[in-house]
Symmetry: D2
Subunit: 178 residues, 4 copies
């Protein structure tokens, strides 16, 4: 497990080094002509800012491929519920990011998506005794108007903490198409 | 709507004035002999700290009655996804708090609960153009081992932003009972 | 409770007397120019056949209003799982009918819908010791492209057996609009 | 695809030849000392009746292994909704059977389960133009008190029609244990 943690931390440092810093000036590029995968690659290349919610809740994207998205998060007492374990909302946030990006990664230029619903199962409590977890989202189905995806949060030892499925609405984002 | 916002802000100030401050020493009281409602009332009385996640994501409990819990949150760019609207995880966090506390409020002393799953529908995007929203959770069913609840996030004008249902496992928390 | 059962059975007989019989010739009318509510009223008027699944699983529509739909079903050993209680799928079928029709009842002529997902909570086992149950569906949100609804199955004594929420996709059904 | 259909029909005939016929006398064996897998094997061996709901809705179990259950169903106009496609409740019934049995197959003697909730995504309409479909359920997590599983309905050509996740409560079924 130590080996996995070291690898995950190394990958996180490599991603952080390329991400657009929080205080950077707003990007001047336009996303309109990019596919979903190109938008996500622009985030990894530092050309587009990562989601603000990631700074707020200590998680970031680690890897995106067509139909797949992996986020990594650092459990902390700042994320606790009154029972002294990580709040269900933290699980939901990482999973929503992972499954939503998995759907996004399949969209052509001119398409956008919005999350209609997400269902999250929490199967094991989590504390900061686990230094890092990963949320991996995978597309289950994509159609013209609807995409579905599933996701899991696992620890460095492969333990499952939560899993989710989502339904996303896909629509045309280009002005002339509406 | 201005009137509602003023009232919600006033109620929030009143609650904050009583809540245990973030830096306060850990409480010495024990929760073991308290019912769920008494635990929640101890938070409102400043005898027990509110959830850390509330500070992190700008929300707090406003009101708890048997079978009902209301939380209030302040949408902010810190909660945004890359599309420039509030992240689905923020909705999920407020709703998870509201429906979980609604179930908690029905439990006798010696009982505890954990969230097995929550499903969240997002029906409208939210930005910080809406200064405050409320998440109201209500119990649907409680049995000996399982409780279910539903919740809604609404704005000061009554607009619905998201809704949820949850399934909670109820178990005996007292040491001798296990 | 006897009073309620008698009333529910009387209402069922009144509905059955008007429904199009299973062996009737296919209707010649077209649904294209009808609103959702008018389609549902055509079923109650015997101008359009009720769903075949209702005959197969012993349930039928009892009442539809804008945003509301009530179905009534008769639990039977034919619906049992191996544990000797009503199969979860029977609950899901009645609830899917109720919440889907609730959304349908809000649609103008030229619009149609399809169910994207439904989540069903089962909170109490059911056997044919309960002669009749009702599934009541209510719209929670309707937009241009998406509708959500919630539903509950209750017995004649008001006991809750199951509850559900659904997400429906709304689309234009008229040929020229596609 | 013809080859797959022939194989699925052949497997169905083989299972039907061993299943306890609908009119057979009630079995005299007791299930109390059997593990979940042994109960499911008793159904395949004709020692215990299959679920009545399977006869009512034209589906049956095809294969069960630890953590996995496969059901096969035959879409028919008897399962249609008013739109002329298979009712969402038919999908839910097959998926509930598959995911529930997947959890059941992992339980030791003296344990039983009940379905707390199931969420079903329907991603493609189905008619009797598809002669057979399969619902495959797989366990995601099992603990002492809770099990979760996921399932998919696919056609003979591998097309996905629906998918689901479930949460089950596990409890001791032996009288002295309660």
């Amino acid at each position: 497990m130590e080996h996995v943690i070291a690898e995950w931390e190394s990958q996180e440092r490599a991603v952080r080094a390329r991400l657009r810093p929080a205080g950077a000036p707003p990007p001047t590029m336009s996303l309109a002509a990019l596919s979903g995968l190109q938008v996500l690659e622009a985030i990894f290349a530092g050309d587009w800012p990562p989601p603000a919610m990631g700074d707020t809740l200590d998680f970031l994207p680690i890897r995106v491929e067509p139909g797949l998205a992996v986020f990594q998060g650092r459990p902390s007492p700042r994320h606790y519920n009154p029972m002294g374990t990580v709040h269900g909302g933290w699980f939901a946030t990482l999973l929503d990011s992972a499954v939503g990006c998995a759907v996004h990664s399949t969209l052509p230029a001119g398409s956008a998506y919005t999350t209609l619903e997400i269902k999250v199962n929490i199967v094991r409590p989590l504390t900061d005794a686990v230094p890092l977890v990963r949320a991996e989202g995978k597309v289950v189905h994509t159609g013209r108007q609807v995409g579905t995806a599933e996701g899991r949060i696992v620890g460095p030892d492969g333990k499952l903490y939560a899993h989710a499925t989502t339904t996303c609405l896909i629509f045309e984002s280009s002005p002339r198409a509406r």
